[in-house]
């Protein structure tokens, strides 16, 4: 159903070449450039000969075509059904979109066909009008690169203001929350969008300073022993990190993970969840954090 040449990179690349050729002849160099940007690394070695040897009779060697209009294709049933499915998602309200023409389409899936069983229960409130308004302002600011003023509730429950340039909206399915990466006078930081009371474009006459900083990455190395299927569980669990894995022997493996320094506490509890199958070996400072928790557990007298 999904695996079809209709959605393929080659069809898309050829459509782009034809789009250009409908207007004027496409020289070989331009053809190659389109293929390089639209297709895979080695595609030029397959698409170009197919064109130049006239296997496809779509474009001549000198970049001419008898195709009369820019290529387009209607949406397939599968595409329409998927669109209909996302139109039923609670998060669609964040976006100002219309789904005209899909009234008679059966969704590919309905919310009741899916059950996410391990997301946290205090996710953002997508029904809240102010939240949706804040989201849209933040999204527009990220896309158009302008600073905004955010009124938010800080950790102690007090209302605060910050002027900052939104850099990106980060979503976590586990937390079911959006965090806004911002760049302001204290450098780069994040704010939970759910804490924002209001977001508005910063007036042009308001001065705004921005300190350029980058997130700090750290690495941690663990050794794992493959008992009770720990290898697969650990590797899947940490699959979304930049990482390097190696086999030490038939049952032992070493994994080095690069993580954001702000997430250190989360990393600690994630390692602890694997019990004795995972041991932090480097850096020693991180291993001491685990040991500290184990000492405190020993005192709990379980």
């Amino acid at each position: 159903m999904i695996f079809s040449e209709l959605y393929g990179t080659y069809y898309n690349a050829v459509a782009k070449i034809l789009t250009a050729a409908v207007e004027r002849d496409v020289p070989l160099a331009q053809m190659r450039e389109i293929i390089r940007s639209a297709a895979f690394e080695e595609s030029v070695f397959e698409i170009e000969p197919a064109i130049t040897s006239q296997r496809w009779n779509l474009i001549s060697k000198d970049g001419k075509t008898d195709i009369e209009r820019k290529p387009t294709m209607p949406l397939t049933n599968l595409q329409k059904r998927w669109l209909k499915a996302i139109s039923l998602d609670k998060r669609i309200k964040l976006f100002d979109v219309k789904f005209d023409g899909l009234e008679d389409v059966q969704p590919l899936f309905r919310p009741e066909d899916i059950y996410v069983f391990d997301s946290f229960s205090d996710g953002d409130d997508y029904e809240n009008e102010q939240y949706v308004k804040n989201f849209r302002v933040a999204l527009d600011a990220v896309k158009n690169n302008y600073p905004i003023k955010i009124k938010y509730t800080d950790r102690r429950g007090f209302a605060s203001f910050i002027a900052a340039r939104p850099l990106r909206l980060e979503y976590s399915e586990k937390d079911d929350k959006f965090r806004l990466y911002i760049s302001g006078s204290r450098g780069m930081s994040t704010i939970n969008l759910g804490r924002a009371q209001s977001c508005e474009r910063l007036a042009e006459n308001v001065s705004f300073t921005e300190k350029k900083t980058a997130p700090v990455s750290k690495t941690v190395t663990i050794e794992l022993v493959n008992e009770r299927n720990a290898l697969e569980r650990v590797m899947l669990h940490f699959a979304h990190f930049e990482k390097q894995a190696e086999r030490i022997d038939d049952t032992h493996y070493r994994l080095t993970i690069t993580y954001d320094s702000d997430d250190e506490n989360e990393m600690i509890i994630r390692f602890l969840s694997f019990g004795p199958f995972v041991k932090v070996v480097q850096p020693q400072r991180f291993a001491e954090l685990i040991k500290d928790r184990l000492y405190r557990q020993l005192d709990c007298g379980l």
């Binding site: 209709l6 990179t9 496809w56 946290f120 909206l169 586990k174 990482k243 928790r293």
Partner: protein, 431 residues
Amino acid sequence: MSDKPMRLSRGLVFILREESGVAYSELIKNFEKIRSYMRDFYVYGFKSRDDYTQKSARSYDDERRRIESWLGDCMGFRQTSGGKSVFISIDSRLQRGNPLFRAWKSCSFTDGDITLHFFIFDILYSPEVKCSMAEIHEGIEKRQQLFLQARVFDESTIRKKLKEYEEQGIVKKEKVGHTVLYSRCESPAFDGADALMFFSEIAPCGVIGSFLLDKLPPQKTPFAFKHHYITHTLDSDILCSLFDAIDRRCEVTLEVLNRRKTPFTITTLPLKIFISVQNGRQYLMSYSEYNDRIFSTRLDNIISVKIGDVCENFESYRQKLEDMQKNLWGVSIGRGAKEHIEFTVRCVKGEEYIFDRMMREKRCGIVVRLDENTCRFSAEVYDAGELVPWIRTFICRIVKLKCTNDDIVQKFKDDLEQMYRLYGIKEEALV
């Protein structure tokens, strides 16, 4: 000389010809073949060529090279004592757009397929244009005047292609008098690029959103994703077929790999898809009439799905599953009987967030605050063993653990002892 291109260095490829042997192509006909390679490269990343070459060294080399061509910079290589290992390394927070989608855009086709495709939609350029077979035939000839040798398509080939497109919902046919007329289908104009960039990453079968994005001008996504698991992308076709079966309330016959990676076949009624956002696994929850029970099957272990007959009792089995959900921590039904589990944690002043964490992270059961410094979680679940990893995240605070399944408590304590030994805790404590 051969048709097989050899990678001598990145970006430098020589086309060699060889009388015998099949030519290498970046495109593939069968996705299943590439699925396990990609999963291994992404999830494990330490296996060497020897680990893959039990069946065929050539097959490994071709698949590795294809994946390298699709994924480019996401691929890495490392020389270890066990040989060269290939891996896909992606930091989901920095990577914009799921690179595994590219694999789904590599379906092979014939020269005739691609030529006909662009001719047909150029002829049927708007829904108002209705053409007979003769007119389409004529249009195809007209579009090859530039070429000395026109590609000839017989009527049955064109008809077959049009029928294929009818099934995909992009072409329709109607009969006017004795003549069959073809036209392109109406297409809704959807321009919500932001929504597509978001949902293609987080919605089931998100690759379809990526196909839709390919129709729009390229743009930088404003989104990043944390805790973003993308391995299930490789199971999109399986998931799509299961959704189809659920929609039609049909049974399915599944070809599934067991723990020893041996395929076996089961017939079952799909009820719901359970998704973990903490490890990216997706499960089919289904009812087996043969065993009269609901059970889970990991989607990444399913090789194929064949849709069967409609089941009249779908709603009652789904209701049964929904009733069970309040006692499921994960996907395991265990032996079908419920187990009681509870644990108590102690916090010190300033650690009230632990209570909030318990409330936020619990999937079922209740949390009771016993006094200022302690709180207790308790639940009735089908498989108490599924809670153990979560309970371990409270290590340093756990003062009590009780379960009607004694093995769980014993194993938890044994594991804890093992952790103390692993970090030399007790030895140091004695000193």
